[in-house]
Symmetry: C2
Subunit: 250 residues, 2 copies
Amino acid sequence: MSELTVPAGRASGAGLDAAALQQLAGKHQTGYRSVGVMVYDILKDAILTGTLPPGQRLRQETLAESIGVSRLPVRSALIQLEADGLVEFHERRGAVVKSLSADQAREVYGIRTLLEVEALRLSMAEMTPERIARLRELGRTADAEEEGADFVDARTEFYAELYDAAHRPVLWEMIEQLRLKVGRYVLGWRLVGGAEHGHSHEELIAAVEGGDVEHASGVLRSHLERVRDAVLELLVAGEPGATAGAPLRH
Amino acid sequence: MSELTVPAGRASGAGLDAAALQQLAGKHQTGYRSVGVMVYDILKDAILTGTLPPGQRLRQETLAESIGVSRLPVRSALIQLEADGLVEFHERRGAVVKSLSADQAREVYGIRTLLEVEALRLSMAEMTPERIARLRELGRTADAEEEGADFVDARTEFYAELYDAAHRPVLWEMIEQLRLKVGRYVLGWRLVGGAEHGHSHEELIAAVEGGDVEHASGVLRSHLERVRDAVLELLVAGEPGATAGAPLRH
DNA sequence: CGCACAGCTTCTGGATCCAAAAGCCCGGAC
DNA sequence: GTCCGGGCTTTTGGATCCAGAAGCTGTGCG
């Protein structure tokens, strides 16, 4: 496990990896319509990859300097990230990367099961061979991805295609929100011991292709349960008593 | 039906009810920790009550002057509202109050049914007589409210108390998001012909008190279906072909 | 008479500057 | 030696200012 494994609980001070942030900034500096959304993407990537670990305090000045912009677009990005549930504003003390408690993770996976089973059911009614083929392609791409943000993105694309047949944009938006909340920890799981995950994609595709809704739902359920348990293991190991509140000094 | 009924489709120009906005601003000027969240609350109220109808273009300068602040906190508020799905940014043309298509409304109520039935199930396992009593109180308060924003707020409080027993903050957050999306139109329904709605609260409370999960779920389902149908009627009547995209000129 | 191009206006988005509040540290007193 | 209070510093949040881009309008040409 590389240094991507989050130090979590600690890291409240100024311990901000400016170099890694600059590197991420470089990857995103190409053609954005506004600086604000660029910063948003950079910070989202940074949080998802663990460059900005949970509990990390985010000082606007520092972030702005690292990325090379003013503080204003940083503020915009932080507000958006707050809405996404990735950061948290502390009164007059600035933003902090949110942690996820074990309870919250359990909840997220419970809701995801509800919503994704529904999305799967709706999608399977509209499934076509072309979509199956595209799913296989995206599944392969997802399995090929190794590094941080791309790994999460590839998986997101796979599920976007899977559920797109349902034509339920609001439902997908909800699912995406929930996936975002646990994205960081899934990444950790991947790095720790996600070896057999490749099977999940193919197993799910086969079930969808078969057309048996109940069977496919079962496959999806068990897949989500497996990921949930792995995430929980990682969570309770990393931070025993940490909840959403960051351990700031008083 | 007062002038709160939205003119909808039109109203792309500068037709902004500055006076009504100032009045709303007055109601909120008391003790906020930051101006940004105050503006956010003001604009949210304005959208929920129909003061800012769907399709209304939101010019930062105008809003700032009406409320009496700078453009900067207005921008912050607009970003938050975008995350809530209440407004939409159009490239270089600013923010517009989002419309809700009939399809989107159907989706919202479908997802709400899924989530709220689950929340109800979980809550009923933890229900106590004290909670029942508080629900009755909140139900009465909600029924007593007549005007715009307070009506929505009172109903939100009722459901917050109902689902609070489940101790599922993430689930509640999701439900709240969805309720926010349709809040405006429910308000319209109330104004148009929501006469028998008072029964819903008591009927639901009685079912919860009874302890029969299946029965209570049924009551909740049919309540949501009734509101959905009323909202849909209002939607298809108001704007036949309007989708999320606002009819801006090109 | 209609269409197209150019200039003007207007609005958003970004940067720099300023004020206020909260935390931190040091000194003094008990 | 410890605890409380006051001043200092740091950092957020707000206001004003500036630049760039998109739309609108007026005029000229076909």
